[in-house]
Symmetry: C2
């Protein structure tokens, strides 16, 4: 059993972590407190970069993702919200059913909104059609959803997880500077938690049939980097990513600079449960005991 599996299993035994369904996790006790502390510390660091903090909505119109070309890039992850029909006769049939959860599952309306796959889409959507006169940096934390088939592992890869982002809208050089600053912030955050970290060139897992070319371009142009943290057994996990989007979102959402040209954007994203996992691994008492033995 890998170290992180032992840790997760111990936390489940203590009732501090539970999985009501694959990819969904609840936390209590010292483990919840540790995540809350990681969140709060990171929030302070991000607020040192910008006072412009947002609370993002819980869902996104599907049209926002269409505008961001999401369906050609990552359709495999998409999760949507659907509410039940308001047809009283159908609701009665559900209410009176011997197996109402099966009945209900059949009567969701056609979805119009997605559960957000990342925080930053909210920000481009809210700024759509505006002129950003001077470099703007926004931070926000929110719940995100990516359905990754049967690859879920508690804290390491969730269907739902928590993301903190900082997003920059400005000129090309402002975005590059921002990205570099973001890397320094993430590295210092890792050091503050006594975690080793490793910066790596990366690419997004684009949907192969339609997105393959993009991954290649992303890597050639050095647009994506990730900070990886150790999670035991020689494995690492990407716990932060640093992304230059060039003018992609500026064009897609008609966000312009003062001179009328499409804005450049960049984002720095932290996956908070992964930071928790790395922190749990780093302070794993049984392993320390083994080392001392």
């Amino acid at each position: 059993m890998r170290q992180r599996e032992r840790i997760i299993s111990a936390l489940k035994g203590r009732g501090e972590l539970w999985e009501p369904a694959p990819g969904l996790v609840g936390l209590s006790g010292a483990t919840r407190a540790r995540l809350a502390e990681i969140n709060a510390t990171l929030a302070v660091r991000c607020r040192a970069e910008t006072q412009d903090e947002w609370s993002v909505p819980a869902a996104l119109p599907l049209g926002v993702l269409e505008r961001a070309d999401y369906f050609a890039s990552f359709p495999q992850w998409l999760t949507m919200a659907t509410h039940l029909t308001d047809d009283t006769r159908k609701l009665e049939r559900i209410a009176n059913s011997a197996c109402p959860s099966h009945e209900a599952a059949a009567w969701g309306v056609t979805p119009t909104v997605a559960l957000p796959p990342a925080v930053c889409y909210h920000i481009y959507a809210a700024l759509a059609g505006t002129v950003v006169g001077a470099r703007r940096i926004v931070t926000a934390q929110g719940g995100c959803w990516r359905h990754e088939g049967d690859r879920f592992e508690p804290l390491e890869r969730g269907w739902a997880f928590t993301m903190r982002e900082i997003v920059c809208i400005g000129t090309e050089s402002e975005c590059v500077d921002f990205r570099d600053r973001g890397i320094a912030v993430a590295q210092s955050f890792a050091a503050g938690l006594h975690l080793d970290s490793e910066l790596e060139a990366a690419e997004d897992p684009f949907f192969a049939p339609t997105g393959r070319g993009r991954a290649l371009l992303q890597r050639l142009k050095g647009l994506k980097q990730e900070l990886r943290l150790p999670i035991g057994d020689g494995d690492t996990v990407a716990a932060a990513s640093f992304n230059l989007h060039e003018r992609f979102f500026g064009e897609a959402f008609d966000i312009r600079l003062a001179d009328g040209s499409p804005a450049y954007t960049a984002c720095v994203a932290f996956g908070l449960e992964r930071w928790l996992l790395a922190s749990l691994v780093a302070s794993d008492a049984p392993v320390l005991e083994e080392v001392l033995r």
Copy 2:
């Protein structure tokens, strides 16, 4: 235009509040900061009642709601999460579509999880099948979803909103004492925010065809009370509720006391955006100016 409509309209004009879709709201600037302060203050008050704080999962298996008899009680509100099929050919069809968001909306799998209509269901589900030896009080904050047709008003009634709950599992008298203490906490929280408040007997808006009898019983037995806050124009909104469930959840989720009998439960729930709205109305500068004029 009602006072709260003027406030919301002014916040939209300042870019501090936006609605990407009916019932979904984003916040920034001073309005977001005010909500964050309300959240933080309430969290401190709740932590004074219990150290047992949980982070609840982002979704609930539909079977949990079935066990809680939710489908006979409030089917009209239910919102579910559905991810796209993992059939690559269908994903390709979506990715290559001229109108991928319409195409995607048609290819969600049959949902198995609900977006939580309240925080406390997570708690009963996690404690299912256990013995609670001594009174247990748990607090948690989380995103909740209730689809209320076309009745959405920003901050007043959201499809998605934020709920802080405190839940008690124990004997009947422990639950009654907890409920009374919860009322005092909520009233003092309102006073701390300089908000008038009014305690009222209430009933849940049960689905009429199957839940009507329950609302009557709830009222006759005095099981539900609400704290209402003024939101202008002589209107009030229920911003906290105090609920005795008798042994309903103890029986439904097989949560037992030390003597083997089903536990009593009670919960105190706060709807945070409504507290924000009442606070915005109470400090509404234009209205103060009108009074002084």
